[in-house]
């Protein structure tokens, strides 16, 4: 059991990443006087959504007053290829669990961290684009105002409080990095013990064998 712990951790890490296909990874909530309970938009690995099916339409209606671009799934190519990246990472993770080498676990964790950071940077770029590429014919123009939502946490955007936080899928995917790190640590520890143990064990076995042969 203990011997298989790193593998199990790695498989859990892969499953954690898989939740990205089940739950949204990020959410942005807009709270305004007319929306006391907020409008919450969900960002999935492969689509956009919300607490109710019409959230994207409602956010676009709000955004159009200040000339922000329409948020449309078709205009965001990442939603098409990110799922493949995640699937590749899942396959790679399973492969690494099969090979069961500490360095591979570490490598996977680092690669996933880098991808997560790249993803967040990409998210920031989109937010910047939505917040700054405003239509010159916007009905409401507010000089100097930025409509860029926060990357993480809360921010006041004119009459709205925008709150940007990871969602279920995001938390699971984040813990996948930790789990893979844990797998690396456990595997390294096991290997270390095994090297010390195996020297004595081997001598024991070999002497036994010698005895049998004798």
């Amino acid at each position: 059991m203990k011997k298989n712990l790193p593998r199990i951790l790695m498989i859990i890490a892969v499953l954690g990443l898989g939740t990205l296909f089940l739950f949204p990874m990020w959410k942005i909530t807009l709270i305004a006087p007319q929306y006391p309970k907020g409008v919450t938009m969900h960002i999935h690995i492969n689509k956009l959504g919300g607490e109710t099916p019409a959230v994207i339409q409602n956010i676009n209606i709000l955004n159009h007053y200040v000339g922000m671009k329409y948020i449309e799934e078709d205009s965001i190519p990442e939603l098409k290829y990110f799922p493949y990246v995640v699937m590749a990472m899942m396959a790679m993770g399973l492969l690494m669990a099969a090979v069961d080498k500490p360095k591979l676990y570490l490598g996977w964790a680092i690669l996933l961290s880098l991808l997560a950071m790249a993803g967040l940077y990409d998210f920031y770029l989109w937010e910047y684009d939505y917040g700054h590429s405003l239509s010159p014919t916007a009905p409401i123009k507010i000089p100097g105002a930025s409509f860029q939502p926060p990357l993480f946490g809360s921010k006041q955007i004119i009459s709205f409080t925008a709150i940007s936080l990871p969602h279920i899928g995001g938390y699971f995917a984040g813990s996948s990095i930790l789990l893979a790190g844990l797998a690396w640590w456990q595997k390294s520890k096991l290997d270390k013990n095994e090297t010390t143990d195996s020297t004595s064990d081997n001598s024991h076995i070999s002497s036994e064998r010698l005895h049998t042969v004798a």
Partner: protein, 662 residues
């Protein structure tokens, strides 16, 4: 002697002086009892619902001669919505849009008004369930069903062979049926006869309307009775489930000066109808199928359209051919309301020209029927003996008892019109417990669930007929007044006056939590099956078919698509089919055209509604959104160019820079 007088005089002066000293304080005390005392008891906080908080109960008040239903919150009394039912409502386009016009169709054609008296919530196991509320149209006999997930009228059925649908709708314990008893005897079948042949040619019909699981109504059967005036009704519950009780007056069967002529008999009747027996007779085929013309109007939530179907026959049961179907219970002095207590045992006849209330016992009634102990028989209906069915009477409680409701502690509350009060009495002992004045002349009263098996006896609402000086004056016509009483203690306590829409007759109350979870916020656009829907701006277009023009229009904050239309000609019939693309709560859009002989449309999210406009002269006509929808609401407008009949201007429409030419 002289001294004696002087002594008396001084004594008098002293008393008078003391009296004067006392009087102001007496006055203050009295004042405190009336107003300050109320604050002392914290009455204000009992009806105060803080901003943003919800009321505990919904109250559905009939609109009377407004034909509508007023929805209030209790205990605040705040008006939440007026639901259009039997009368056109320009505010909502009800009866004006092409989709809702069929709702008001009858065998007499389009009837734009009615007199709506008795709302009745649907019940399951004798408890209000919050699915629907029914209400009767009194003038042109009809029953409407309102769906409480959307607070809209979704069905209206006309009642044939009837003349004034007053004793209606009063549901059975599981909403198997709603009933309709005619208030006016009418010739059966309708024909040209001398009015003074009333007793000979006129009849009174009781109607049972079946309510299906999904709410759909249909006239199941009618029962042909003498031409009494069938005044009110209530169905039995518990042991008496399967029976309905109808009060009657004018058992004298007169047709003129009824205020005297119909008040002569010492006792009129409560008609007890065994509707389970009626079902058996129908199953056995013991009915006459007679021609009858009546409209059945149904609003479909998917197509957002009403359709009106004319029915042509009805099943009629004749009591003389159906023994055990109907019995008459003699009840003193023109009984008005008939109310069944929560156990189903007691049937209260509110003899409106009497000082007493007569209470019949269902058990005694059954025993009298089993013993065949009849006084006489009228038109095949056995008349039971008064003393064999009466359980007791509430003596000298007031004058002019009209209606009784019940609480959950075994008490009954009766309104007395003439003495203008509500009287609380004990069911079973008939003892008067308390009296409370009403301002003025109370008609119906309402306790949430007060005519069901499970009353919620916290509040009582008095629905008064006369208002006089209760509010700031508004000329000769005044609002009608409702009053809220706390009935949770031994004594009734007046908490609040509040005005109502139209004239409230009966009302119904229900815990908000039985309705709120099912309330819809908008119509899902993907479920819209309107034949002229436009599910996105890409579907917006204009089509001509002869002189009929169909505009497939959409609305979304903050524009119409299309908003510029040319090629319309004088004499065209232009149908604007406006789909509101919004999928958010509380974002209706309105639509109105200058000079149109029509009301506005008020279109909810996901809905399609149609506006008919027949331009009569050339010009460029503006249209706009009438419901302040957004920061750019004032910009939500457009133009239609109207050209002469002979012109060759092509049909053309557009939005922004994109213009499409057909």
């Amino acid at each position: 002697m002289k001294n004696h007088y002087l002594f008396q005089f001084i004594h008098f002066i002293m008393i008078a002086t003391f009296g004067l000293l006392f009087l102001p304080s007496c006055g203050n005390q009295a004042g405190q009892t009336n107003t300050g005392g109320a604050l002392g008891d914290d009455v204000a906080s009992q009806v105060y619902v803080a901003p943003g908080e919800y009321d505990e109960f919904y109250a559905f008040m009939s609109g009377g001669f407004s034909g509508q239903i007023g929805v209030h919150g209790l205990p605040s009394g705040r008006l939440l919505k007026v639901i259009p039912v039997f009368s056109t409502d320009g505010e909502k386009g009800y009866g004006f849009s092409e989709e809702t016009k069929p709702m008001l169709n009858t065998s007499h054609g389009f009837v734009p008004w009615d007199d709506a008296h008795h709302p009745e919530l649907s019940q399951t196991n004798g408890e209000t369930d919050g699915r629907w509320i029914f209400i009767n149209g009194n003038n042109t006999p009809r029953i409407a069903r309102i769906d409480l997930s959307v607070f809209e009228t979704v069905e209206i059925i006309e009642i044939p062979n009837s003349g004034g649908n007053h004793s209606s709708p009063f549901t059975t314990e599981n909403t198997e049926y709603v009933v309709a008893g005619t208030r006016f005897g009418v010739p059966y079948p309708q024909k040209d006869v001398a009015i003074n042949t009333y007793a000979e040619n006129f009849k009174g019909m009781l109607t049972y309307v079946k309510v299906e699981e999904d709410g759909a109504m249909d006239v199941a059967f009618q029962i042909l009775l003498p031409a009494f005036d069938y005044d009110l009704a209530h169905s039995g519950k518990g042991n008496s489930h399967g029976w309905t009780f109808f009060t009657t007056y004018n058992t004298e069967e007169k047709s003129t000066l009824l205020e005297v002529a119909a008040s002569q008999n010492d006792k009129d009747f409560i008609a007890a109808v065994n509707w389970k027996k009626a079902e058996e007779y129908i199953a056995q085929g013991k009915y006459q199928e007679v021609p009858a013309k009546y409209a059945h109007n149904v609003y479909d939530e998917k197509t957002h359209m009403a359709t009106s179907t004319m029915k042509d026959k009805v099943k009629v049961l004749i009591p003389s051919e159906c023994p055990g179907l109907v019995y008459f219970l003699p009840t003193p002095k023109s009984p008005h309301g008939v109310d069944v207590d929560p156990t189903g045992e007691y049937i209260v006849g509110n003899g409106k020209l009497s000082a007493d209330l007569t209470v019949h016992s269902f058990t005694k009634m059954k025993a009298a029927i089993d013993n065949q102990s009849f006084e006489t028989e009228i038109a095949g209906v056995p008349v039971l003996k008064f003393e064999e069915v009466v359980a007791g009477s509430v003596k000298d409680a007031g004058l002019g008892p009209l209606h009784t409701e019940f609480d959950d502690k075994g008490n009954a509350y009766t309104s007395f019109f003439i003495t203008s009060e509500v009287v609380k009495w004990k069911v079973g002992t008939w003892e008067v417990l308390d009296k409370a004045s009403t301002f003025y002349s109370v008609g119906h009263i309402m306790i949430p669930g007060g005519d069901s098996k499970k009353p919620q006896g916290k509040y009582l609402v008095a629905l008064n007929k006369i208002t006089k000086d209760r509010y700031l004056p508004t000329g000769p016509e005044l609002c009608h007044s409702a009053q809220l009483y706390d009935i949770s203690g031994d004594k009734m306590k007046l908490l609040l006056d509040f005005p109502t829409a139209g004239e409230p007759h009966y009302a119904q109350g229900i815990s908000a939590d039985r309705i709120v979870p099912n309330v819809k916020k908008f119509y899902p656009i993907e479920e819209n099956e309107h034949p002229y829907r436009a599910l996105g701006e890409k579907d917006a277009r204009v089509e001509r078919n002869g002189n009929e023009v169909h505009v497939y229009m959409t609305t979304i904050r903050s524009h119409f698509a299309p908003d510029n239309i040319e090629g319309i000609k004088v004499g065209d019939k232009v149908y604007f089919h406006v789909t509101n693309l919004e999928q958010d709560w509380d974002v209706p859009h309105g639509f109105a055209v200058m000079g149109a002989n029509n009301a506005e449309l008020l279109i909810m999210g996901g809905q399609t509604e149609t506006f008919l406009w027949e331009p009569k002269s050339v010009g460029v006509i503006p249209f706009y959104c009438t419901d302040f929808c957004s920061a750019l609401h004032q910009e939500m407008q457009g133009y239609i160019r109207v050209s002469p009949r002979s012109s060759n201007i092509a049909l053309k429409w557009g939005l922004g820079e994109e213009e499409v030419v057909q």
